[in-house]
């Protein structure tokens, strides 16, 4: 037969991939990214601490230092970030794009600080701590429930609403600081004598409470989403509001109830930040976790256990890169951002190779195909493709994900994959071809 020019790269979709293989790909991607980063940093470094110096610095950011201080700090930050991400995931499962994590955390901080400021010293400390916790949780919940009520009743856009609530929270904090300390520099002094004491000595003692709370919250949220009736209702409302209505679910109630939970968890983070860690409040206390948490949620495929790993990875990288910058004498943060971006790029990009198979060169006859494990798991490929599109409810198509986390994280394959909930197939384009 007459041969004509054919595309060089030829991409087909995989049916499935064994878990060990996909894990291998992910680890491989991170390894390649780290090697490239190391080479990059080694080239940029003023004196030649070299290729391996990068690795030792990177790891010492988390595992170095005296008495495990850095390790516990990383763990504490991981715990806080994970809690915020879990709060978001509860709403995301319902396709309620809660971008107001920052605001909800800040309101938790503010409520906690208010209790400390007004009640500190007037009532016994243990009673104050309980009030602080309750107030923080309530403040976070209220901040999340306002957009939820509007969404439930007027179907307003929750992304914009929650986003705007962040600014209100930020300026409320600024207002109260200048209201309480009019002569100050705009910073609040720590109210350490009424704050929660450390649970032990050193950084470990200070970080123990957030870590314990994060563990409990993770387990609870995992069970809540996976096994409870509420979690089931959340998934159905996220899938299709019509179906939910038909199942006898009160959609408004579920939206409001879920956002109360989401905001409450953010409130707990606020309580930890102000009441236990910093003993004061500032406008940047949220640490932008409301947005980093979005990334954690998507990269963790909405699964609390994977999210815990991702949250640790993110903190490991940021602390590690800070250490690299210090050790190598870089004054600009840009270098660290470039490397972190590079690693994210590889980590997220490798998802493509998990979902698709790339053939290079001319077509050859495929007899056995790619996966022996993918035995009879294929139901009528043709219609599977069709229903990919069919299965996308309007909410899903409209509920595009705003990219505010500042990285390329939430887009593309991973993003689409997480939308589908089960994370098995990206519901994105059917177009599986590239031409060279």
């Amino acid at each position: 037969m007459e041969r004509v020019k054919e595309p060089l790269i030829h991409i087909t979709r995989r049916d499935s991939m064994p878990v060990w293989k996909s894990l291998l790909i992910r680890f491989g991607a991170i390894l390649i990214a780290l090697l490239i980063s190391a080479a990059f940093i080694a080239a940029m470094a003023p004196d030649s601490q070299g290729f391996f110096g990068f690795f030792s610095s990177l790891f010492s950011g988390t595992f170095g230092g005296k008495g495990g201080r850095r390790f516990w700090l990383t763990l504490q930050n991981t715990a806080l970030l994970l809690c915020v991400a879990l709060a978001l995931v509860v709403a995301f499962r319902m396709k309620f794009w809660n971008l107001g994590g920052n605001g909800q955390v800040l309101m938790g901080c503010l409520a906690c600080a208010m209790c400390m400021y007004y009640l500190g010293g007037k009532i016994p400390n243990p009673a104050l701590w309980v009030i602080m916790l309750v107030a923080s949780v309530a403040a976070g919940a209220v901040w999340a429930v306002i957009p939820a009520v509007f969404k439930a009743i007027f179907n307003t856009n929750e992304s914009l609403f929650t986003l705007m609530m962040n600014y209100i929270a930020m300026y409320l904090v600024a207002f109260f600081i200048s209201f309480w300390y009019p002569e100050g520099t705009g910073a609040m002094p720590p109210l350490s004598d009424v704050a929660l004491p450390a649970l032990g000595n050193g950084q470990a003692g200070r970080s123990l409470l957030p870590v314990l709370i994060a563990v409990v919250v993770t387990v609870l949220i995992f069970c809540y989403l996976r096994f409870s009736k509420h979690g089931y209702e959340i998934s159905i409302v996220g899938e299709s509001k019509n179906t939910a209505r038909y199942a006898g679910i009160n959609v408004r109630k579920v939206i409001i109830r879920t956002l109360v939970l989401s905001g409450a968890i953010c409130g707990i983070v606020g309580f930890l930040l102000t009441g236990s860690i910093n003993h004061m409040v500032s406008t940047t206390m949220d640490g932008n976790m409301g947005f980093t948490g979005i990334m954690v949620a998507w990269m963790g495929k909405f699964n609390p256990l994977i999210m815990a790993v991702v949250a640790f990875l993110i903190n490991f990288l940021s602390r590690g890169m800070a250490q690299v910058c210090t050790d190598f004498g870089f004054t600009s943060e840009a270098l660290s951002d470039i490397v972190i971006g590079l690693i994210y790029f590889f980590f997220i990009g490798c998802e493509f190779f998990i979902v698709y198979k790339v053939h290079i060169g001319r077509r050859k006859k495929q007899t056995s195909g790619l996966s022996d494990e993918a035995s009879a798991d294929t139901v009528q490929i043709e219609t599977a493709g069709e229903s990919d599109n069919a299965g996308m409810p309007v909410e899903e198509r409209d509920g595009h994900f705003p990219q505010s986390s500042g990285t390329e994280a939430s887009s593309g394959i991973l993003g689409a994959e997480a939308v589908s909930g089960s994370g098995e197939e990206p519901s994105g384009k059917q177009q599986v071809r590239e031409e060279n």
Binding site: Q366, S387, Q431
Partner: protein
Amino acid sequence: MDEQIALELRNISKFFGPVAANKDISFSLKRGEILALLGENGSGKTTLMNMISGIYYPDEGQIFVNGKPAVISSPQDAFRYKIGMVHQHFKLIDIFTAAQNIVLGVRETKRYSARRINEQVGKIASKYGFEIDPKKKIYDMSVSEKQTVEIVKVLYRGADILILDEPTAVLTPQETEKLFAVMRAMKEDGKSIIIITHKLHEVMAISDRVAVLRKGEYIGCVNTAETSEAALTEMMVGQKVELNIERPLTEHARPLLEIRDLCIKNDVGSLAIEDLSFFIRGGEILGVAGIAGCGQRELCEAIAGLRKVESGGIYHEGESIVGLSPKAIYEKGVSMSFIPEDRLGMGLAPSMSVTDNMMIKNYQDHGFGFRPRSVDAGDKSFRAAGRRCVNAVGGFFDRHWAFVNRRLARSEARRVIEELDVSTPSTETPVRRLSGGNVQKVLLGRELLNKPNVLITAYPVRGLDINSSYLIYDILNRQKKAGTGVLFIGEDLDVMLALCDKIMVLCHGRLMGVVHAEKTTKEQLGLMMAGALDLQEEKGKQMGVAKDTQIGEGETWNE
């Protein structure tokens, strides 16, 4: 090479992993010809068409366009070869106008000018007889209008070979006729068309030749004039299929569901159903005929408790169910399975597993499996008191149990899969990965689990192939024999005439009459659907009118 051949496929194969979606397929399309591509669900029709339109690339074989080998590796390539595909699921942008959607993706050197495009669209429309308003936004359009936009879009790009993937699945008979007229006009103009459809009578009506696929393999190509529906079915299925739908006779029981002077509003607040009165007996299938959007959806939703009833009554076994929650109505035994145009929108959660979809209706009742201890009423012993205590506490937690019972749901899923012969790899497969027929079986099966005595089923065979359709008819007939009253909202009049006992015709939300299916004709139903014949006005003498359009004196339920 023959000058008349517009498109030729030679030995085309496509594999998805170990599965061959298409195997060694060769056929050709002549210029100015309408070729019907026939095959059951999953026989590889869409895959094949996707290869022609550049979405997939064949693993083996060669495509020829106008006698020359062609490499179609992207939709842009297909567009260069003047091949255009209209997908089953429209790929339009909702907030754009028709014209904007039509020019989207076309690279033109001229500046974008709404007027010029509107003119060009108008020109194409008048040439082939389309009705299209270029300035209308997509979200304001009906399904058939959206389809028109899709077709005009391909024509605007200058396509000579058009591929229509199940274009009639979502159209009414009238809209289908319109589409066929347009297709004939295009054929006159020398365009070649491949149409994918499941409806044999449409194949017979529109096509010149028919190519048949079965399980990814090419079976053959026949001239439409020289074949019959039965012969085509045999080619498609591989064995002789009885095309007659059974209508078993059953003892008609008392009316189970009665609708009296029902008025319902639609989403925009105008009356969708106006003064509708009818009833369903046990052991009968009552068909509802009417053109799309004349109140069927609203009627279903009102009966299922999803839509507010403005006035009138709905009585189930003599009890009013107006104002009850959907769950309460479901528990009384009124089940609804509504297959919307996109199949998955209502009643199912597409990304969730078969198991999770099974428990949508009853997860709220899941407990932790508490079994009350037996206690004699008169027993006053300490032990009995203890047991009563355990029963009270256990019962309370069982009723207010916070967790779902997936084990129970999984066994239900297994039952449905087994009894309705659903083909799925496992109970944990997401529903959207199943083929259309299996999705519909899952939905219907879940409704049947409740052992309903009134089953409302809307468009249950939408988009299904022959075998699956007959399976669904069989399920409905089994329900009928078991004494269930079935309300069957259908599209295909031939099917309704064969399957239903009585047919109720709606026109713009008004009842035009109820007729006995075996005594009426398609023409009469057509007239009633169009509103030209109103049996409610002139009672009595008409042919085939069901006597019990109004409920009989002796049978009326007392309120």
